[in-house]
Symmetry: C2
Subunit: 362 residues, 2 copies
DNA sequence: CGTTCCGTGGAGAGCGCTCTCCGTCAATGC
DNA sequence: GCATTGACGGAGAGCGCTCTCCACGGAACG
């Protein structure tokens, strides 16, 4: 219906300029809302835009502005194991596929990150490009992608400590912001949770409800979050006179939570309180407790961490420490856009406070 | 370390050409592997590329090729309710935020879609741009994004039937492929599951293990998948002499599964088998059954649908109908890239066969 | 009444790449 | 031996946009 005005294909600035009887530069000024343009001419241009059905060509704009107006959302793992799994790429009909991506989304945590990122990006007309970086090949891809200018910066969520990606990005002089403090110092901004405070809340809650023989299932200790949650829990316990806290290390998975609970129960059959460093492990622990004839929270109180959807899938629903993931992800995004606006700004960190959510399990 | 060879900023084709002592065109030919280039020159160019640390500028390439080499992955809802929720965009610290995105990722199904898409895209050097289209504003954004040439096509996963997005995209002459058949016919390719066959597997399994009083919790009946699963289930039951199947409609959520189970149990206290149209509802059903003193599968056998992670979070783990989501998502992606390669190709549909996964619940 | 200045629109030079066209040179055919 | 062909490299014209300059005119000032 607008074909009469455009030479061929999509309408360009030139076409709009012709239709409005002004120059290309003026149309550009109106479209980008820059400098003063006579209101009458502005109106004429706007009309011409809608008549021609003009849409700016992003590639052309990017070429001169040197900005893609896009950011990458990278889920990054350290992965010795996933590194090898990459071979099985092609098929993977029966759930094989990329074990890494599947594994990432099994934890509802990542969905909350996406929600926070998208909420912040969307009102600004931006959308994240989703990338996975679990092998060194994939990490190079991410760096290449950024270097090609397809994205202006990266939001990096590492699933393991010792993730080499942040350092790679920093070396290449590319912009990035991390979710969670990197294990090794890297000159990159990040957001994180006050994990120790969260663990303290869990400890105080268990003590407060009268538990006397309390144990904990920690996260992997090579991950800063796992380490911090354990430290925070033990410190608080010590401050309340509990010198010794039986501890078994888990891997943040439901299975590892089950195995850990089995061990704790075998070694300390009389325990009456458990703090699991995330909800998935707490869920596993609840299953084992029930199978061993312990009622939750009657015989044993259980507290989780994260307030993920696993907390609600559990019966009774889990008392847990809520991490404001969406807010953290939004802040992470804000930090990145800030940095893109002022590339020589300071490297900062923003730490969020957790919150105890009391439900049925403790 | 390579600064001596580049004029300033990132190295360009020109820089590489100068370093290799050839023309820009030749470097382009080598980089893109097009036409025959003398092996000796090829080698020289390659060396120059690595010496200069050259990376092609995608914006410049896109400008002339008119291809972004990117696709959008759109999660689309029809949403009357989410439409209004858009107001609360800004803050949303405590989990409020965009109820739509949060809701999308609560079901592990979407993570599997992402996995399949990424697995197919990655070996081809592509990455999906994640977009949500739950309001008409957002739908326009998606269309604008595609029209700006920021993505070559869209992979659309609709959460509701009557989703207007596919039609919008088709009208604009943009490329798209859908996950699941649209409620209204639209000239766009799609992949889907043989839902009826899946329901048949569930019915036969329940009958085969000796259940006599079988009920079902259906999905929302305005969604083609919900409808098809119910139809398939009833048909098979009828074929085995069960003329009447007590049915309660659910909404594919855990809560709706609980409510539905309560009702079924109230009206048919003697039932001994339940088919829930997805795992989340089956999980809810199991919780209710246990609370009402029924053992699973001893007193009541339960079969779910999807084989999502909820199936494993359940105790006992759910017997369920597996939907090869990853494979379907990969095929959807293949169809889109095919279409981009041959824009005048046929509109097709690919239907996948489900598979029964027997675990503890039935 | 001349000078300065600000507000505003146009001209045009690229941004870095691809791709068509053309030129060159060696191999081949009659 | 000369025309024909095929293989291969170079030249150069854009792709659609932004943005820096410059030109122009009217207002303000001395």
């Amino acid at each position: 219906m607008t074909d009469d005005l455009r030479s061929a294909g999509a309408p360009t600035l030139e076409d709009v300029a012709r239709a409005a009887g002004v120059s290309r530069a003026t149309v550009s000024r109106v479209v980008n809302g820059v400098r003063n343009v006579d209101p009458v001419i502005q109106e004429a241009v706007r009309r011409a835009v809608s008549v021609t059905g003009y849409t700016p060509n992003r590639a052309a704009r990017s070429l001169v502005t040197r900005r893609a107006d896009a950011v990458a959302l990278v889920v990054s793992g350290a992965g010795v194991e996933p590194e090898a799994a990459e071979e099985a790429e092609g098929t993977g009909a029966s759930g094989g596929g990329s074990s890494f991506t599947a594994q990432v989304f099994a934890d509802p945590f990542f969905g909350r990150v996406v929600t926070g990122v998208v909420n912040y990006l969307r009102p600004r007309g931006m959308h994240p490009v989703l990338m996975f970086a679990e092998s060194s090949r994939a990490r190079e891809d991410v760096v290449a992608y950024l270097r090609q200018g397809r994205a202006d910066g990266a939001l990096v969520v590492s699933t393991h400590a010792e993730d080499p990606l942040p350092a790679l990005i920093a070396e290449a002089g590319l912009a990035a912001v991390l979710f969670a403090r990197p294990a090794r110092p890297v000159p990159v901004s990040y957001v994180d949770l006050a994990h120790q405070d969260g663990a303290r809340l869990a400890a105080e809650h268990l003590i407060g409800r009268g538990c006397r023989r309390i144990a904990t299932i920690s996260g992997p200790l090579d991950v800063p979050a796992g380490q911090a949650r354990l430290t925070g829990f033990r410190d608080t316990m010590a401050r309340h006179g509990h010198a010794y806290v039986p501890t078994v290390e888990g891997q943040f998975t439901q299975e590892s939570g089950e195995a850990a609970m089995e061990r704790l129960l075998a070694e300390h059959p009389d325990l009456d309180g458990v703090f699991a460093a995330n909800d998935l492990m707490a869920l596993g622990a609840c299953h084992v407790l029930r199978e061993r004839g312990r009622s939750v929270p009657g015989d044993v109180a259980v507290v989780g961490f994260d307030d993920s959807s696993a907390a609600l899938a559990c019966r009774p629903p889990l008392t847990t420490v809520r991490q404001p993931v969406e807010g953290m992800a939004a802040e992470m995004t804000r930090l990145l856009l800030d940095r893109l606006a002022r590339p020589d700004g300071p490297v900062t960190s923003v730490i969020f406070e957790p919150e105890l959510v009391v439900r049925g399990s403790a």
